[in-house]
Symmetry: C2
Subunit: 353 residues, 2 copies
């Protein structure tokens, strides 16, 4: 990736060609299996990048918060899944009602109480989708409990859009196949439980970037819809898990060498631009696509200390690309992404509510 001389470092640079190549690869594989892609836009938080996804065949979008939904609906997106068990207090009910006047809104629920709290939205067009736990053990009910939650939604007068799960335990080495199987079994069991209860299950929605290929490679489609987030940009985690190659990485932080103190290579990219995410399997705090043997061995707010594995230190003042460990975290720290020398605002940055 060429590093143009552009803004002051550190900044995040996006390569549109690589983004579109990543999108086409995944969307084509999904289309071949008859599976829709509803990307999770929390990764890039930018209506412009979501438009690229739609241009390349995505159908609807996924968000994590009502605040993100507000940004994307204002930008013209009209089919939004909030894949989260949103707590519907009066203020959020009002906000969701306003969204439903302009777009199809689907809300996650993962309890009978949650479904009942959505009752004031009956008749607004808002639909619910039951969240399942396929093994990550975060939110979501077991497949056997799905019918009770869906029944509560039905009783509350809310259309059921289907069931969804996030197989987030795919973030580990060598687990993608097992995780994709657990995802498929959980979605199938929930659909069966709903059918047994006389409830239709229009959509089984799944997907995470590390498990995508495994989900699509399995026999009959296990999902009707995939909701990957990171796949369009990639990051050091995907690289280290084997789900992206350095040439696939479409977002890097451009950093400057600021010090050789003590023979160390120190860059001006710290946790305030890269994020501090470090999974147990990560070999450092980010990776250098142009120096695959290097490791970011120490990270503070404005410093990355890099072990270059014996290579000659680039001079102070050089610019170096760093792939953050977790691209969603890096984007959420930035006010803008630089695309071909042009700043693109991260419009939904910090929309956590």
């Amino acid at each position: 990736m060429s590093l143009r001389t552009a803004p002051a470092t550190p900044y995040l640079q996006v390569d549109e060609q690589r983004v579109r190549r990543n999108l086409r690869r995944v969307h084509a594989a999904a289309a071949e299996r008859g599976v829709a892609v509803r990307p999770h836009v929390k990764t890039h938080k930018s209506p412009e990048l979501a438009r690229w996804q739609v241009e390349e065949g995505a159908r609807g979008i996924t968000v994590a918060t009502v605040g993100e939904a507000e940004v994307f609906v204002a930008a013209g997106f009209d089919d939004v899944l909030v894949a989260y068990p949103v707590f519907l207090d009066e203020a959020r009910l009002t906000r969701v009602r306003a969204l439903a006047e302009r777009a199809r809104i689907v809300l996650g629920v993962d309890s009978t109480d949650g479904a009942r709290r959505a009752a004031p939205l009956a008749g607004t067009g808002v639909e619910v989708m039951v969240e399942l736990d396929s093994g990550q053990h975060r939110t979501g009910v077991r497949a056997a409990e799905a019918a009770a939650v869906a029944g509560a939604a039905y009783d509350a007068g809310l259309p059921l859009a289907g069931v969804f799960t996030f197989p987030g335990h795919s973030y580990g080495p060598g687990v993608a196949g097992d995780v994709a199987r657990a995802e498929a079994e959980t979605l199938a069991a929930a659909a069966t439980a709903l059918a047994d209860a006389g409830l239709a299950c229009p959509v089984r929605s799944g997907g995470s970037t590390p498990s995508l290929a495994a989900t699509l490679a399995a026999g009959a489609p296990a999902v009707d819809e995939l909701r990957p987030g990171v796949y369009l940009l990639g990051d050091a985690q995907q690289w280290e898990l084997g789900h992206a190659q350095p040439d696939d990485l479409a977002l890097v932080c451009v950093a400057t060498v600021v010090s050789h103190a003590g023979g160390r290579l120190v860059l001006d990219a710290g946790s305030k631009v890269l994020g501090a995410d470090r999974a147990p399997y990560a070999t450092g705090f980010g990776r250098l696509p142009d120096h695959p043997d290097a490791r970011v061995v120490q990270l503070s707010e404005h410093h990355a200390v890099v072990d270059l594995a014996g290579a000659v230190l680039p001079p102070v003042g050089s610019r170096i690309a760093v792939a953050p460990n977790h691209v969603c975290a890096a984007v959420n720290l930035a006010d803008e992404l630089w695309v071909d020398g042009t700043p693109l605002p991260v419009e939904a940055r910090g929309r956590n509510t």
Copy 2:
């Protein structure tokens, strides 16, 4: 800390009374020893909180970037140390010249080349301060090298403000005393080296929140100036290191219980509001001041899964305070801090350049 019903969760809440109590305690201890406090405002990034620090006796401020300096100088602060080996390309030289017209600006340098690159600033009033490595092994030169760097600055026509170090290796259990000793020895050795070279060392500047007490408790003052950042707010790291008690924590994230799925307590505060920092000694991804036995065992972008150590789960919809592991990271994710029901903009958020 009382949780007012205020904005939608998650949000960051600051308790001004606790902030002022924390400030008075540290500033009084420093004043007793004849040591000045020049707080690092990267922690709160808010001119209003910096004003509280000045009202409580701080003298000047410390920042990490030229971008932060720009925000604080625009807000009226007139004595700013950029405690970082800033790479001075043409664009930054221009920005620093503009700052120097309105404030006293001191720039960190940690190499003879770095001092020479500052030469175009001779005559602008900009001063330099030599950064020392007292054991963190990030940036900074050894004490023995300080005279060479200071000499290069002198030759470049730049006034020398002194020497500084950040003893960041204080972030570990049981190390504060040793770290404070290393800090004192490094600063003393550098001052001696400068004197031997016929150069004055007006200020020896040190300090980190974990080592503050140890630095002040030692015999003769080892420092002329301290630059703590976190001390005014506190966080889970300081609590776990024994440098703050739960009642000292002046910033919390107010979160809502969103799920009891699988008997788990899940809050809507994830890494996009708390940050993902997790030091090796941390017992989780944040702490709950009102539930000291609880641990945040899993953190994703919008979920904190909490092990309540057997306690009854608070109902879905309850609001719970979470102390982030690293308060500087949490503040840098927020557009505003809520102080007594009023939003205070985090004006220098994201000013990384």
